[in-house]
């Protein structure tokens, strides 16, 4: 059985937008998107003591190799990084195109995603990837079990939850409430360096420079601005009427 986990290398520390490219400044240190840690952990739990193969797949700069090593340290078996100058600046559509091709190569039984990326990019990527792979998709999974080539997931929604079954192969995005990701053990960290890490270019995936990056994107960032100032900030002293003033304030803004 093969489980593929899509992970992202995100900027560490307070995120900044580069005013020149108008995209997220990814030049500094990076780390594993913490929501992806839940997906890796879930893969490890499903594997348990069995012999399933866990492959982490990512698209990013060469420095993302460090992040993939963390996933390997947690217990994944192999890493695949699509790293090519041409992928920088990919929007969701382009990213899903590249990841889907990489995942096709793997032909995994289960593809896992984390529920969002801490850098604000990459939400809902899983549904786009599932569509390209023509696979069923389940998101916001709070619980996930596999039995006989079928998965069973508890999906959280606004009203409660649904229990969904789907045949494998399938794509699942796990909620951060699904598990508590493990720390890598020292043995794991040391062993990670020996595990295979493949670096692929777009050409290796049968894609060209028009399929990714800015060229392959259908959306763009036009301008940046400071957020609208918190206009009309007020400060009052309580003379016994503050409670009413608050109620009036909230009513004015239709909050109550």
């Amino acid at each position: 059985m093969k489980i593929a986990v899509c992970v992202k290398h995100v900027p560490e520390g307070p995120a900044r937008i580069d005013p020149g490219s108008k995209r997220l400044d990814r030049s500094g240190e990076g780390m594993l998107n913490r929501f992806d840690a839940n997906a890796i952990e879930e893969a490890l739990r499903i594997k348990g003591d069995g012999d399933a193969e866990i492959v982490v797949v990512s698209m990013g700069p060469a420095s993302a190799a460090d992040t993939l090593r963390k996933a390997l340290a947690m217990g994944a078996d192999r890493a695949v990084l699509v790293s090519d100058d041409a992928v920088a600046g990919s929007d969701l559509l382009a990213t899903s195109r590249v990841l889907a091709k990489a995942l096709e190569r793997e032909a995994a039984d289960l593809v896992l995603f984390g529920q969002q990326a801490s850098d604000g990019d990459g939400a809902v990527l899983w549904a786009a990837v599932a569509e390209r792979l023509h696979l069923p998709v389940v998101s916001q999974a709070l619980e996930l079990t596999l039995a006989d080539a079928t998965l069973r997931a508890k999906r959280q929604n606004e009203f409660g939850y649904d229990v969904i079954e789907a045949p494998l192969p399938a794509v699942v995005a796990v909620s951060d409430a699904i598990n508590e990701p493990r720390y890598a053990s020292l043995k794991g960290i040391m062993g990670a360096k020996k595990k295979p890490q493949d670096v692929l270019s777009l050409a290796d995936l049968g894609l060209g420079p028009d399929d990714a990056g800015d060229a392959g994107s259908r959306t763009e960032v036009l301008a940046l601005a400071a957020p609208p100032a918190r206009g009309g900030a007020q400060k009052i002293e309580d003379d016994g009427n503050a409670a009413q003033a608050i109620v009036d304030f909230l009513a004015e803004r239709r909050l109550i």
């Binding site: 720390y183 890598a184 020292l186 040391m190 360096k193």
Partner: protein, 566 residues
């Protein structure tokens, strides 16, 4: 001063024996490496780099060291996360480490020192004074030691070392009187020590030679010195350094040191120290204050002294139009020559750098000694491994090498200077000049030295004069902790050992002392006693508490600051 309160009267619940043990993991679960280095700072990485060079020249020895010939464990998120210094560094050690073909320009730095000035400050004025002989920095280079650490880490890995970040060394593993490695810290424990869902126990990491390069207040270094009875003639004492990095509108063209204000010069206060302002390229500078932890005023706050310093008209002008982009704090061992341990080695063990006090306070230099000591430790370890035997005396060559090096002769030259400053700045200054001019040949005679925690406390209303933070030039402690990059997990056991029921004065001492607002005066217990309340996740692991009556131990790996520019 009899009857005065001393923090040392309220020792922390700490016994070094708790941190020494035999390996406990089953033999096949222990992780074996060749040489284990604790600390990815200048000393530890220099050791790793030199070992890499030697092992490349001697592959037969490398083979005998197994799959991981050289491992460096680092408690911070990455090399550099916990490194902080001024720093104006003497490049000689880098040259010795990298040998022929080394180009200083390849090391990321902020360039050579172009000029310098020393000022005596009062509240409003700055009197330029000729730099004391100890403060001439011609030929030296301005570095961010955090950045240097990152660079050295890359070189060490290129040389074959395996760096293991977020891995603190919690216990010293000793078997049959010999150091055989360390036990790494647990991860995933809750506030009361309970195992959380993600709990991962530490491991026994065993090695043929263990090198402790933990930096100031090194946890296992302190434990080892106790265990092997190696403490020096004089107790170690420390200074606390607090610094900021600023983006500035006007470049600074010289290295500046100041003395005097806001520190008080009268002997009774024992406020020994000064400030430094170093350019970092054209658009940044670093400004910091250093004060000896033998101060006596319970209301002294190095953090707030730095904020006060910035309000001086001459200094405010340097920062005009700028923005604070970094902050940090760290102690510096200042006992000098007399506080060096009796020996720097024990069976299976070598100790380097700031951890054993290789710092020259009058010149404010220690980085190059750390690098040189790491290099020498590598050579000694290699020689022992090459011989294939490691009897108790195998590593003695390290001590011999350090004693014949410039580390020893430099520290010897300035051996009594720190002490004379205990007599107050003016008297001390004259004596200090006399000593340096004579290259240490004038003997003042050793003054008895006391541990910082034994200084009796006095009270002034010093805290009234600290500036109210304005958020642009001056800041409060929590904002500073934020800027240090500290986002330590809260839900973990407290890593700071202090006596929790103390006189109010002692609790206030710690509250003001700590630059990260870890301590707070808690409930009144009557009789002048209070409880001390802690917020351990604020801790930036500067080590001040260990000097002043408590004991810092390493928290969960990856905790603490994430310095990049310090």
């Amino acid at each position: 001063m009899t009857g005065a309160t001393r923090p040392s009267s309220y020792p922390p619940p700490f016994d070094p024996r708790e941190f020494v043990s035999e390996p406990t993991d089953p033999a096949d679960e222990r992780i074996e490496v060749g040489v284990l280095i604790v600390g990815a700072g200048p000393a530890g990485l220099a050791c790793a780099i030199r070992l890499g060079q030697l092992l490349e020249e001697h592959p037969d020895v490398a083979e005998r060291l197994g799959e991981v010939p050289v491992a460096v464990v680092e408690k911070g998120k990455q090399p550099g996360s916990h490194l902080l210094s001024g720093a104006v560094v003497n490049p000689r050690s880098l040259r010795r480490l990298f040998g022929a073909g080394f180009r200083l320009e390849d090391v990321p730095s902020y360039g050579p020192v172009h000029g310098e000035a020393v000022y005596m400050l009062t509240r409003r004025a700055a009197l330029r004074i000729p730099p004391p002989p100890t403060m001439r920095n011609h030929g030296n280079v301005v570095f961010s030691v955090s950045r240097l650490g990152r660079w050295l880490g890359e070189r060490a890995e290129e040389g074959g070392a395996m760096i293991l970040p977020e891995t603190p060394a919690g216990k010293l593993l000793v078997s049959h009187g010999r150091v055989v490695g360390v036990r790494t810290g647990d991860k995933g424990r809750g506030r009361d020590g309970e195992a959380l869902g993600s709990f991962e126990p530490g491991s026994d990491l065993v090695a043929k030679v263990t090198v402790l390069a933990e930096g100031t207040q090194g946890h296992l270094t302190g434990v080892a010195l106790e265990h092997f009875g190696l403490r020096g003639n004089e107790p170690q004492v420390w200074e606390l350094g607090v610094k900021e990095v600023w983006k500035v509108a006007k470049p600074l063209d010289r290295v500046i040191h100041t003395m005097g204000w806001p520190l008080r010069t009268a002997a009774k206060y024992r406020e020994f120290g000064g400030s430094f302002i170093y350019p970092m390229g054209d658009d940044m500078l670093t400004i910091g204050i250093v004060v000896g932890l033998d101060y006596r005023d319970a209301e002294l706050s190095a953090h707030d002294l730095l904020q006060e310093l910035k309000t001086h008209p001459k200094i405010r002008a340097l920062l005009e139009g700028g923005e604070r982009v970094g902050w940090g704090a760290k102690t510096i061992p200042s006992g000098g020559f007399h506080a060096l341990p009796k020996r720097l080695h024990a069976p299976g063990l070598l100790m380097c750098g700031d951890g054993v006090g290789m710092v020259n306070i009058p010149t404010l230099k220690g980085v190059h000694y750390a690098i040189e000591s790491g290099r020498l430790a590598a050579e000694s370890a290699f020689a022992a491994l090459q011989r294939g035997n490691t009897p108790a005396t195998a590593l003695a060559s390290y001590d011999d090498a350090v004693r014949s090096s410039f580390i020893w002769s430099d520290l010897h030259e300035v051996r009594d200077i720190r002490q004379v400053f205990g007599r107050g700045f003016v008297v001390g200054g004259a004596l200090a000049s006399a000593m340096t001019v004579s290259k240490g040949r004038i003997e003042i005679g050793k003054l008895p030295a006391e541990p910082d925690a034994e200084q009796p406390l006095l009270r002034t209303s010093r805290a009234e004069r600290y500036p109210v933070p304005d958020g642009t030039l001056t800041f409060d402690k929590l904002s500073s902790v934020f800027v240090s990059g500290n986002k330590t997990r809260d839900d973990q056991p407290n890593h700071i050992r202090v006596e929790q029921r103390v006189p109010r004065e002692v609790a206030e001492l710690w509250t003001y002392m700590c630059p990260a607002q870890v301590y707070e005066v808690g409930a009144d217990e009557g009789d002048g006693m209070v409880t001390v309340q802690l917020a351990p996740s604020n801790c930036v692991q500067c080590g001040a508490i260990t000097a002043k009556g408590g004991r810092l131990t390493p928290p969960e790996g990856g905790s603490g600051p994430e310095y990049t520019l310090t």
